[in-house]
Amino acid sequence: MFQKSKQFAVAIAASAACLAGAFSAPAQAADDQYFMLPDYRVGPYGANGQAFYGGFIDYLTYVNMKGGIDGVKVAWDECETEYNNAKGVECYERLKDKAKKFPGPIHTMSTGISYALVDKTVADHLPLAMMGYGLTMAVDGSVFPYAFPLVTTYQMQASAIIKFLKDKNGGSLAGKKIVFLYHDSAYGKEPIIALEAESRLNKFELVQIPVAHPGNEQGAQWQRIRQEKPDYVIMWGWGVMNMTAIKTAQKMGFPRDHMIGSWWAGSEEDVIPAGEAAKGYMSATWNVSGAGVPLIADIEKTVYGAGKGNLSDKAKLGTILYNRGVSAAVLSVEAIRTAQAKFGKGKPMNGEQVRWGLENLNLTDARLKVLGATGLLPEVKTSCDNHEGSGKVKIQQWDGAKWVLVSDWIEGNKALIHPLFQADAKKYAKEKGITPRDCAAEAKKK
C-alpha cells in the first residue's frame, strides 16, 4: 500500500512538472521578427494547408538564408488548428504573448478563424492578413485598422470574372444567362451581392443554385442547369464539390470551357481527380502556378538544395497553393520592409509598425522583378481606405496536364464593389460601436 502510494506521488509530481514545463512559453531570440502560424496539416483540408504553409515557411527559410529582412532574422511557430475555429482561437491565445513584441502578419487560411480574430487582433495590436478569404468588408481600413484582406476579395473576383466574360462576348453580356453555382456557406454566399449588382449593371440574368456541403452529389443542381440552358456557369466550390461539379457537367453535356471557378476551385487538387472531364475548365487565380517562376526555382535550389525544405512531398512545389503560400509570405515580408524603411532599417518592427507597413505597401512590378516574382502575383498598393490593394486576378484554363493562363491581370469593377464594402463596414461599426478613423485627414497629414 505504502509502496503504491509512493509511486503514485512520484507519478503525480512528474506529470505536474511536465505540465508546468509545457505551459511556460519556450524561449525565443529577442530580436527576431516572429510569425505565428495557426496552420492546418491534418483534417479535411489538411492537403491544402500543407501546400500553402509549406510555401510560406519555405519562403521564410529562404529569407533567413539570404540574411534576413535587412539583417533581422525571422522566427516562427506552427500551431495546428485543423481548420477549427475554437482551436484557431486557442492557438492564437497561446502564441500571442510571444508575438506581441515583433509580430509578422498572421495568416490563418480560414475565414472562420479570421472572423474570430478580427476584434482580438485590434485589442492586441497584431496585424491580421486574409489573402483572398476572410472578412471582405475589412477592405475599409477606417473601421478595420488591423485587418487586411490583401490582393483581392470574393466580390472583386466575381466582378473580374464578369469582366472577363464581357470581354469575351464583345463587351456586352446583355440578355445572357449566367448560373451561379455555390457552396451553401458563408464562403459561397459572399459574392452574391456583387454578382447581383453586376447583373443589374450589365443586364444579364443571374440564376443562383446552392449546393449543400460537402457537395458530392449534384444531380439535381445540374438537371436544373440543363433546363436553364445558361451561357456560363460561375462556380464557388470547395473541396470535393469541385471535381463532382466538373464530372457532373460532363455527364450532363455542359461544356466545361463555359465554366469558371473561384480561386478555391482552381487548384491541381480540384481538376486532376476529375480526369479528362476537367479539360477546358477555367478558374480565377491571384497567383500563377508552376515551378518556372524565378523565385520558386531559386527556393527549390537554395532551400531544398540545403535540405531545409518544409514539404515532405516535393511534388507540391510549384502548385497553385504552394505558390500562394510563397506569395503570402512575400507580401508579409515586403510589408515589414516597408515599415523598416520608415521606422528604422535593420530593426525588428512592432505590431503598430508592421500594421503601418501593410497599410502603406507599394509592391510594384519593378520590386517584384527584383524578388524574382514577376507575374507570380499582381502589383499591390494599399492605403487607409483600401486594404485590398489590388483586386486583380488572372483567368487560367486546365489543358489536361497543367494550368494555362488565358488572360492578363483583370481588375474587378472597383467603383461598383467597394461602396458595398463601405456600406457593410459602416453597419458593422455601428453595431460594434467603433468610431471609424478619418482616412482623408490621415492622408493629408502625410
Binding site: A22, Y115, A186, K189
Partner: protein
Amino acid sequence: MFYRETGQFKTTYAADQQIFPIRQDRIGMLLLLAVAFVGIPLFASEYWFTAILLPFLIFALAALGLNILTGYAGQLSLGSAAFMAVGAYAAYNFQVRIDGMPVLVSFLLAGLTAAAVGILFGLPSLRIKGFYLAVATLAAQFFIVWCLTKFPYLSNDSSSGVISLPGITILGFAFDTPRSTYLLVLTLVLLLALAAKNLVRSTTGRAWMAVRDMDVAAEVIGIRLMHTKLLAFAVSSFYCGVAGALYAFCYLGSVEPDGFSLDMSFKILFMIIVGGVGSILGSFLGAAFILLLPIFLDISLPAAASMLHLPFDNATVSHIQLMVFGALIMFFLVVEPHGLARLWQIAKEKLRLWPFPH
C-alpha cells in the same frame, strides 16, 4: 481519517436535505469557489482565461443541458449544437434589433427561444425512443443550421451569414477584459448549475428519472409523460441556448451557422458519456476532459518529442494526439463505464475508510 462524517448529526430536515450533507464537502466546495472567484482571477494569464477557462465553463453548461435531457430524463439527443446555435443567433437578434436591450435579458430570451425550439423538436419523443429519437433530433441539427444559412434575416442580412457580436455592458460596466468576462461567465454557469442541481433533486427531477428508468411504470404511478418529456427538452434546450449565447458573446465573438456542426453535438455527447451520464459534476469533469486533454497533448507532445530527439513534425504530432486521445477515452470507458463522476464517488468512499479499510 479526515474525510469522515462521524459526529455530524442532522437535527433538522433542512440539514438533512442540503446539497452537501458532509461538512468536509462543504469546506471543499467553499475552497473551490474561493479559488475560482479569487485565486484564478488573481493569478491566471490571459491565455488561461480565453483559451481554457471560458470554453471549459461554456461547454460544461452545454453538457449540463444535455445531461438533464439524456442523463436524467433518458432521451438521447444529437441536437445540442443546434440548440446552442439557436441561442447564439437569438441573443444576437435581440441585442441588435432592440435598442437598449440589456445583455442578460437577451441571454435569458435566447434561452427561452431555444427552449421553444427544443419543445418543437422534442415532440417526436412522445412516440419514439432510444436510437430512433436520436435520429429525429439529428433532424434538428441539420434543419436549424440550414435555416440559419438560408434566411438572411436571422443574421441581420450579413452577406456571408457570419454574425459578429457586440461587446457586453451591464449597468454601465463593460466586460471587455478576459478576467471580467470569465467572472461573468463563471457566475452565470454557477447559478445555472445550482438551479439544475436543485431541479434534479425536486419532484420534477424524480419524475424525469422515473421516465428514464421505465416510462410505462412512470405513467402508471401518475406521471404525465408528455409534460415530463417536453419539460426535459425545454430545460435542456434552455441550458444549451444560454451556453450558445455565451459561446458567441463571451468566447468567440463571431460565429457562423456551420460552426455549430454535428461534430460539436457529438463532442457534447462525449463529454457527458466520459464525465458521467446523470450527474451534474460529471458534466464539468467531462467538459474538462474532452476540451483540455487535446490542448495538453498538443502542448506537451512536441516538448516531449524534442526532449527525446524524435523527428516529429506538426502533422505527426496531431495524428499522435488524436490516437492518444481516443485511447484514453476507451481506457476510461473500460475502467469505469459510468464516467469520471463515478470514479470521484468511488474515491470518496475509499477515502472514508482510509487508512483503516477493515
